[in-house]
Symmetry: C2
Subunit: 109 residues, 2 copies
């Protein structure tokens, strides 16, 4: 059962766009495994210019705990070592340095 | 069966953001009915500042034909009469005046 749908936006450094796309053409199997173990599914990432948008669904019961589990995974940390330097802050006043949650304003099944 | 997943980005006029959000809190039933009839499902719209992102899945066999069907629907045309003036072009060089398709760079089930 999908308990929550996420839309997240991020802004890439212009000189890192190609690298980010290439990395996601071949995501490490253990990173994907951890995504599944942390109860995320139907995960898409889209790009337009320097903006990336990710959509995924959460099927677990404790999102914060699952995100902590993901953040503690050594392979995921290594992966983020490649992907995170591709980002710049979405806005100067952004709280997050990578993807930021967006607000849902419409849903229909 | 989902044949294609869409991510689309749009930019709202700053003075029309509230109106766009309010419209989508109460989408007309006949507009929703047409969305379903045109084989779109699992439709979310997210917002961050003046950017809106929509995600939906297409389950039909001919997307262009279904979009033509939607565009020919009188109620949908009336609805667009309210929603489309909320947009400005995403970029000066944008081909579309409203939502634009983004490119998919990652998917996992």
């Amino acid at each position: 059962m999908v308990n929550r749908r996420f839309g997240q936006i991020g802004r890439l450094k212009k000189e890192k766009i190609d690298e980010y796309v290439k990395l996601h053409a071949d995501v490490w199997p253990d990173v994907k495994k951890m995504i599944t173990e942390c109860n995320l599914q139907n995960y898409s990432i889209f790009i337009r210019d320097d903006l990336v948008f990710s959509y995924f669904e959460y099927t677990g019961e404790n999102y914060d705990a699952d995100m902590k589990k993901m953040a503690a995974d050594e392979t995921t940390q290594k992966w983020w070592g490649y992907t995170r330097p591709c980002f710049e802050k979405y806005n100067a006043d952004s709280a997050e340095a990578f993807y930021e949650d967006m607000e849902t304003i419409f849903y229909m099944a």
